[in-house]
């Protein structure tokens, strides 16, 4: 850990980064924090706990405010997949963002069922084996169609429209959110319109979801959102050969629709 802190300090001193998004200990409480060269003493509180935060989502907020700053960010395997996708979608400039890699512990990888629990370059921790687990998708794929339909309808009926799934998602970077479009989903109702609220989100996750699972962890209604998006993710790679989260290359093939593809056509709007 001391070596890690020293490494960040050196990055500050050399001017390679002007801020580092990591996690600090506040009492016994780990919280995300933007460390800066102006306060190197804060690095004493730097910690790498076995819990996750939506670091790339927080990074986006910082980048919107300081678009020209060179920033370091603590990345796990999932965070790196998110950053790759954000670069392809022109939400961040790769030359301004330095990945400071953390390999997840075997415990964390197991609890996340993570297919790639480490980033490309590791600055802290030891690489552990990926977890290949499709049991959640298989359990639903083997249900008779009618039962499967009832299963999802009943899961969606638990939704309290807290937007937790969207708010924690670093792939939800649109300026305007279709889920808030009154013409598609009536406002003021919980559960929100079934199943369209969740299907819109699932469709938008196609070609974007990097399978971090934070949405499902955040959901107070315990809707198995990750299973839904994993299935969509599989379909994207199966039908269109696109695996989101991989570095470089083409953008999500559904992007040919353009940013307006997600909006309500103006004709409907006028009614």
């Amino acid at each position: 850990m001391e070596k890690f802190k020293k490494y960040i300090k050196e990055l500050f001193e050399s001017g390679e980064i002007e801020g580092f998004l990591g996690i600090r200990k506040n009492g016994l409480h780990p919280v995300p924090h933007l460390f800066t060269p102006e306060h190197p003493e804060e690095l004493e509180t730097l910690t790498i706990p076995d819990v996750r935060y939506p670091m790339t989502e927080i990074l986006l907020t910082i980048v919107r405010k300081y678009p020209d700053k060179k920033l370091g960010i603590m990345v796990r395997g999932c965070d790196e997949r998110a950053l790759n996708e954000l670069v392809k979608n022109q939400k961040i400039l790769p030359e301004l963002i330095k990945h400071i890699g953390i390999a997840c512990s075997a415990d964390l990888a197991a609890s996340c069922r993570c297919a790639q629990p480490y980033p490309e370059e590791i600055h802290y921790g030891e690489k552990v084996a990926p977890v290949e687990d499709r049991s959640d998708i298989e359990a639903i794929d083997t249900m008779p169609q009618e039962e499967r339909f009832d299963y999802w309808m009943s899961e969606f009926s638990k939704c309290i429209k807290c937007y937790g799934c969207r708010n924690i998602c670093s792939m939800c970077f649109c300026d305007q959110c279709t889920l808030e479009d009154n013409d598609l989903i009536a406002t003021g109702q919980a559960p929100p319109a079934i199943p369209i609220f969740h299907l819109i989100r699932a469709f938008h996750m196609a070609g974007r979801c990097i399978d971090c699972g934070l949405c499902e962890e955040a959901c107070p209604a315990h809707i198995p959102l990750r299973t839904l998006y994993r299935k969509v993710r599989e379909s994207m790679s199966g039908f269109l050969g696109y695996v989101s989260g991989t570095e470089g290359g083409e953008k999500d093939p559904l992007e040919f629709l353009g940013s307006e593809g997600y909006m309500v056509p103006s004709k409907i709007d006028e009614k």
Binding site: N26, G27, L28, H29, V31, S157, K158, I160, K161, C162, Y163, E180, T187, G188, A190, P191, P220, A221, H222
Partner: protein, 531 residues
Amino acid sequence: MTNSVPEFEDADCILITGSNTTSSHPLIASRIMKAKEKGAKIIVVDPRKMHIASLADIYVAQNLGSDVAWINGLMRIILQEGWENASFIKERTEGFEELKKAVAEYTPEKVEEITGIPKETLKEIAKIYATSEKSSIVYCMGITQHATGTDNVKSLANLAMLTGQIGRPSTGVNPLRGQNNVQGSTDLAAIPNVYPGYQPVTDDAIREKFEKAWGVPLSPDPGLTVVEMINAVEEGKLKGLFVLGENPLVSDPDSNHVEKALDAIDFLVVQDIFMTETARKADVVLPGASFAEKDGTYTGTDRRLQKIRKAVEPPDEAKADWDVLCRVGKAVGGKGFEFASPEEVFREIAEVMPIYHGITYDRIEKEIIHWPCRSEDDPGSPYLHKDGFAKGKGHFTPIGYKPPVELPDKEYPYQLTTGRLPFHYHTGTMTRVSPSLTHEVNEAFIEVHPTNAFEIGVKNSQVVRLTSRRGSVNAKVIITNDVKKGVVFMPFHFAEAAANRLTIAALDPIAKIPEYKVCAVNIEKIEESEA
């Protein structure tokens, strides 16, 4: 709550009444959903078919204010079928014979007539609740906000004791408290008849203890409750009011009456984090710090203490409540306000409150502690009444059904009940300043049964005028089967069309809680030209 929040997950039956759980307590609803996934039966008894009702195994709508009747009816069935817990009754309770006598007249037929609950459904509920291994009762304002609120709560306590569904994990009688720290503020005696830790002001020994601790003489008489204070202003007995984090102009019943009193008062101070309707009437407004801007502790609905830590500085002149109060205390020449930090305040709290005595900041950093926690080596109490009740034996109270204070008549033929929406909190002080929440809903409406909408001659989204004996407001109509015929529901978040201009200030004789949940109203269509 007699039990702690995580325990819900392991219950076999959860009986929810008068609680819009998914809206008002979503994280508790989430535990209840987990219990359901593990096989627990969820029963909802509520006049309005809310979200949690649609997720329940059994849902039934009772008539407004008929709770004592259906709970007595359940107990009569339980006794008749032999589903009571005889050893629990014998060893842990007193007054059983009187209870038995009192519930005898509540036959399923009579209960169906009073409550509208079909007798078959009542029996099914009685069986599942009484015969499940671990049954838990969840209730909220739908039970308490009645002139018979205390009766309703005692009836639920009778039911839990009769079946021995109390004093064990995942059982109990569990009122869900609203604000994050409302339990803490009650513990700290923001009620007029006790000192901190529920120590009665009328007890000489206790009063002496506090006189010694605070170095001042104290009154042996209980003070006034909220609605009584407003009445005292009107009677000229109360000249000044210091309101902290509350918006009585919108949240108290019979708002027109409250407004008159606040206009007449000599001196009004309001301390809040945002400008409120009440604060606009104040002589002095003191800006408070929000949860993220201060250090301290919160005591949650299940008596668990948690530390909060300042994340950002309060804006401008805003200050933490304890700091403001200490400054005011010192300014009026009071002694004992020389605290340097919330931790110092907490040390005094633990000193004078036996139920918090073993709790320190250091401990709650590392441990999960629910009060009572009486010494440093006491692990605290996730659930209460394990080996005995506070007074030794649990006392059954025989209770008879009393109808609501104001019943519908020719002039006011509909029954109004009030409540909350998932997107707003209370009078909207905190939520109506949020763009994403106001995007969801930002105006008052009423829910009306299709038959009544036809009768009144209104369509969805048309505006109607609601009138009670106390006032009148306009609101948009939503036609729905979620309310019974004759009942209208109105959320009370919206000051510009405040449901509380209509509600009645009839008080429960013991708790002094107002009957927000039932009053009589008339509904009139507003002609296009008027609207």
